[in-house]
Amino acid sequence: MPLIETIALQKRYDNKVTALADLTFAIEAGVVGLVGVNGAGKSTLIKLALGLLEPTGGQIRVLGLDPVVDGDRVRARVGYMPEHDCLPPDMIAAEFVTHMARVSGLPKAMARERASETLRHVGLYEERYRRIGGYSTGMKQRVKLAQALVHDPELLLLDEPTNGLDPAGRRAMLDLVHRIGTDFGISVVVCSHLLGEIERICTSLVAIDAGRLLRSATLDSMTQARDLLMVEVDENAEALTAALAQQGLEVRQDKRALLVRMDDEDVYDRIRDTVADLDLSLHRLERQRHQVADLFRDLPEGAENVHA
């Protein structure tokens, strides 16, 4: 059974703005990345999955249920972490998570036990008796995650979980999400506009743009063919381009940098040697993170008009 399945799903707001159009895909268990630029319709999709919005056309099924009809049964089995701040500042974290567990239907004693367990899992055990208002952004994100996880959902919907975090915080949050997907055995849908960031932890990806499906595939088939090395030299990039092209490498100039298609690990050495031979000074040689934009650029010709 797919976690989330949509058939020709459409959502228009006030019959004017089209947030989602003709969206058909199926998400299987695992850690699924839902990528798209801001405003692509990711949050709308999540709200449709929770039954908070009703589709204006087509169908959506979550855990085999229709959220429009069985909204409360779906929501009892799903955890949701919203994108924006949503915590009451003058409550103590442990009490807040306990309260949310009870609203999810857990009996009092169980709720308390699960709340402190969950806060421990997200790394807030020591600080759990402090007021949320005094927490850092990173700690607040963890509380948000804890309240989504506290009732042991079958499916976790995370809307931009790394929002507002510094690089170390982002990494920690993503590791946590990865652990939830693997060790905890809970399926996760992670929304992000940064493909490069979530591709590390996802087993499959759904890319949407302007409310339409761009691609839905396992991670390997989507990004493997696309590894690029970014090379930056001080001067004479043209000579390097020519020299690399002569060796049969695929090179493209992108502003000040050169993008070299990486077929195997050997390419690093060949670039280094070529740069040395030309006596240039190498500034940067790194594997380029995928951007959502790359997915769009690489679209097959025929599909171009889909999101035009």
């Binding site: 919203p82 949503c86 239907g105 009996p107 055995g185």
Partner: protein
């Protein structure tokens, strides 16, 4: 001599929850209890407790003073319904402080969307919050009533019969308190749910309750025969006083009802219904 380490910390990892999942009704009960508690600042910071408990304290002290007055003077000055009727202004201040606490904060901090992503439905949330506010207001009335009951029952000169009289009076007082609490909550909550800013919400409620008082008083003072008797309907406190007069034969007159007592009761019932409906409609629209 060192012994081998026998204490080992096991990380038992993530445990799935196998226990019961209680449904929507339980969700509503949990939210209700939490809301009534937070109305009195329980589970929140010390500042949040200050005003509700100060009001409750003043009301209780006033009740205690009235017990003394009642028992020392030859005739009873004030009865249970009289306490409810005269404490209405304290209750309106309470609503103005607490209603924003119950709903505006949830709007402001986006907490509402966490509630709505759980089994609760929009209407469940609206009705639960309304019930919680009404209950909190009821407690504000009920505790002074209980203090008065204890005081009067211990001071009765007519033995067990006197105690039963007091029980009857207490029951009337509690019934009046239910009506007062329902109306004040049904007027205050829809107003508070319009804004996420606590100050504005309190302001709107204060404006409704206090600014309507002089208008109502002016109509009562300068209106003709009929208008004089209808003026009380323009202010929640005098309207409730009118209901108390008609229903319980209260002889403290904040409003003149004339023969319009039933109308006062009807308007009160209608306003409770409309306020409840408006709250539900409001939460149907609110962004989540």
């Amino acid at each position: 001599m060192s012994t081998p380490n026998t204490g080992v910390i096991h990380d038992i990892g993530y445990q799935h929850y196998e226990g019961p999942r209680l449904g929507r009704g339980y969700s509503m009960r949990s939210l209700y209890l939490h809301s009534v508690r937070s109305a009195y600042g329980l589970g929140r910071s010390a500042w949040a407790k200050l005003l509700p408990f100060a009001l409750l304290g003043f009301a209780s002290m006033a009740s205690l003073v009235l017990v003394v007055v009642n028992t020392q003077l030859p005739t009873q000055v004030i009865d249970y319904v009289g306490i409810v009727s005269t404490f209405t202004y304290a209750a309106t201040v309470f609503v103005a402080v607490v209603a924003p606490e119950l709903v505006s904060v949830d709007l402001r901090s986006n907490l509402l969307q966490l509630y709505l992503s759980r089994p609760l439905r929009r209407r469940d949330y609206a009705l639960t919050k309304l019930a919680a506010l009404a209950s909190a207001v009821f407690v504000l009335y009920a505790i002074p009533l209980l203090i008065m009951f204890l005081g009067m029952a211990f001071n009765t000169d007519t033995g067990i019969g006197g105690v039963f009289d007091e029980v009857g009076g207490l029951a009337e007082g509690l019934l009046a308190a239910v009506i007062h609490a329902a109306l004040l909550a049904a007027l205050g909550l829809p107003l508070a749910s319009l804004t996420g800013r606590r100050v504005f919400a309190s302001g709107m409620i204060i404006a409704l309750f206090l600014l309507s008082a002089p208008v109502s008083a002016a109509v009562m003072a300068f209106g003709g025969d009929t208008l004089q008797n209808l003026g009380g309907l323009l202010n929640p406190a005098s309207m409730l006083n009118g209901v108390d007069q008609w229903l319980f034969g209260l002889n403290i007159n904040l409003a003149f009802t004339g023969d319009f007592g039933p109308l006062y009761a009807l308007v009160t019932a209608a306003l409770i219904a409309v306020g409840t409906l408006l709250t539900i409609v409001r939460y149907k629209k609110v962004k989540s």
